[in-house]
């Protein structure tokens, strides 16, 4: 603080506390609603203090939403997407920064431009590719005059379908590229003099150095993957086996599949279950999360 301004400070402090309460109110309301019985939660005005039915509602929501299964699915998908993104980002950036070859710029831009093509704007054709992954290759081969019939490989209703289309990462590759650029050239030269090949150098020196980078990237990617909604909704029809946690939210909405009059208490309990993992990651790894976000956008 630069000078003493007690009145101004008091006003600021009050505004901050008010905003804090207002911004966190939705979390509180979800928690409170999830802790009352059906009758109390539908009262107007709703109670502002938690009731005693939280665990009961959580158990009901857990059961109805098949969460034993879908939480595991979401976890598998989120971890696979995160690991895949980090691995691809690291090796692609390594190739782009440390190797000299023609088409290097082209490869970089090919990855980077995907930033402009978010899933939502190419959703219909991406779905059709996921239904038949080899179709593009078949089409290309047919154009060259070879008439081949590749087998149909569908990603619908599978873990690979939930993971593969999300794994390519312009942000991650860019982040890793930026990091590799800051590693002094002398390190690579020294490694080479000591007789290490490129892979050895990558594995033994670059990867351990990039640990901070990796954790930052992992936190943002985990939350990103866990929060995916549109894509799983489209490609998963086998709800019993492959549904993810966020998808279940569509079923707890009033007039949704559960159908009864608005059971807000169990709906909010389900919401609590779904939002818990990313909130936990954000709280525990906030420092890394923020660092990842900010350096990804530079």
């Amino acid at each position: 603080m630069i000078e003493r301004t007690p009145v101004f400070d008091a006003i600021v402090q009050v505004l901050l506390v008010l905003s804090f309460v207002a911004l966190l109110l939705p979390f509180w309301v979800v928690l409170v609603a999830a802790s009352h019985d059906f009758h109390t939660v539908n009262q107007v005005p709703m109670p502002l203090l938690p009731g005693r039915h939280l665990f009961e509602n959580l158990a009901t929501a857990w059961e109805k939403g098949n969460f034993s299964r879908v939480m595991v699915n979401s976890l598998i998908v989120a971890i696979a997407v995160t690991a895949g993104k980090i691995a691809l980002a690291a090796i692609s950036a390594f190739a782009i920064v440390y190797f000299d070859f023609r088409l290097k710029k082209l490869a970089f831009w090919a990855i980077f431009i995907t930033l402009m093509l978010p899933l939502e704007v190419r959703i219909v054709p991406t779905y059709s590719v996921a239904a038949d992954v080899l179709a593009p290759f078949e089409a290309i081969l047919n154009l060259t005059g070879l008439s081949v019939d590749l087998p149909q490989w569908s990603l619908l209703n599978s873990y690979s379908g939930l993971v593969l289309p999300l794994v390519a990462t312009a942000t991650g590759t860019f982040l890793y590229r930026q990091f590799f650029m800051t590693v002094p050239d002398e390190l690579a030269e020294a490694a080479r003099m000591d007789g290490s090949g490129p892979l050895r150098f990558f594995w033994d020196i670059l990867l351990p150095l990039s640990r901070a980078n990796m954790i930052a990237l992992a936190t943002i990617m985990f939350v990103f993957a866990w929060n995916q909604y549109l894509w799983p909704l489209l490609i998963i029809t086998d709800q019993a086996n492959f549904a993810t946690a966020t998808m279940q939210l569509q079923k707890v909405v009033p007039n949704g599949v559960w159908g009864e009059p608005p059971v807000w208490n169990t709906a909010m309990a389900a919401n609590l279950i779904v939002l818990f993992p990313p909130v936990l990651v954000t709280l525990l790894l906030q420092r890394w999360f923020v660092r990842g976000l900010i350096s990804a956008e530079k």
């Binding site: 603080m1 630069i2 301004t5 600021v12 901050l16 090919a110 959703i123 909604y229 976000l293």
Partner: protein, 294 residues
């Protein structure tokens, strides 16, 4: 890329790049190309591939008042949500930057909404602002029928704007705070010595220096509102009532998957794609400038 390249094994480099390039080709470029192709063709009714129809699909989309309705709603949604969220985040960041007691807790709290998935935000807001339960319903006891997002299009649009703004505050806040903290303290102290009070310093020093951050966030927020709003709309309003909240992304989805009209959906996708590209391009240009002037 000024780094001296160290290795020259092109085969190895190709092998390292292959997995990502393959995924990018299959799931990004091919579908985008296909959207473009579909937008200029129509599927023949009894199979046998697509028929080239030129700009027919574009004309029918652009002459459809329902489409312009979704454009109008999307633009209002994007601008209102971005403005609301950015202004609030800016105020909070300026205040938190004064580092008074408890600023760490405040920081965590302001950032937390960002962790939530769009449908989770949607579900929470749908309950809080429900006309017959939740936090706001009491207002209908006093003024019956004043607030009902299930029937009134303006109420519904307001509701999804609030939800989107809330979910973006954390992101904006973090960037503003980082921007503020990179302003040298000496500058502010010099301002204080010259007799500028805290508000005057915000207005004349901190805000102008934050202009690049502000611009960057504006582009990101608008892009996000155009692209990432599916989860909120789907859970809160499903595009209703009477299409009052049918955002462009949501319309692509309903036309493509519920209406099964690939050409119509693809045409709208291409328009949306061009829009996103333009926004991203503006952002790249801005980053370039920042690098040059630094």
């Amino acid at each position: 890329m000024n780094k001296r390249a160290t290795f020259s094994n092109s085969w190895l480099a190709a092998a390292l790049l292959l997995p990502q390039l393959l995924l990018v080709f299959i799931f990004f470029y091919w579908p985008s190309g296909e959207a473009l192709w579909w937008s200029f063709t129509l599927e023949r009714p009894f199979g046998g591939g697509n028929e080239w129809v030129g700009f027919y699909n574009y004309l029918s989309v652009l002459q459809d008042s329902r489409y312009w309705g979704s454009v109008r709603v999307s633009v209002i949604f994007a601008i209102a949500a971005s403005a609301l969220s950015i202004l609030l985040a800016l105020m909070l960041a300026v205040f938190v930057d004064r580092r008074m007691r408890g600023h760490q807790i405040l920081k965590t709290g302001f950032f937390l909404p960002y962790a939530l998935a769009a449908p989770a935000v949607g579900l929470a807001f749908r309950f809080i602002f429900a006309p017959d339960a939740g936090l706001i319903a009491g207002i209908n006891r006093v003024f019956p029928g004043l607030w009902n997002p299930a029937l009134d299009g303006n109420d519904a649009l307001t509701l999804i704007i609030l939800a989107q703004a809330w979910s973006l505050v954390g992101y904006n806040f973090i960037f503003f705070l980082a921007g503020l903290q990179s302003i040298p303290r000496a500058l502010l102290e010099a301002g204080a010595m010259d007799g500028a009070g805290p508000l005057r310093r915000v207005w004349d020093l901190q805000l102008p220096l934050l202009a690049p951050t502000l611009f960057f966030l504006l582009v990101i927020n608008i892009t996000d509102s155009f692209v990432n709003s599916f989860g909120i709309v789907d859970i809160v309003t499903s595009g209703g009532p009477a299409r009052a909240t049918e955002l462009m992304v949501y319309k692509v989805y309903t036309d493509g998957f519920q209406g099964k009209d690939s050409s119509l959906a693809a045409t709208q996708s291409v328009i949306l794609m061009v829009l996103i590209m333009a926004l991203t391009f503006v952002q790249f240009r801005f980053i370039e400038r920042k690098v040059h002037y630094n």
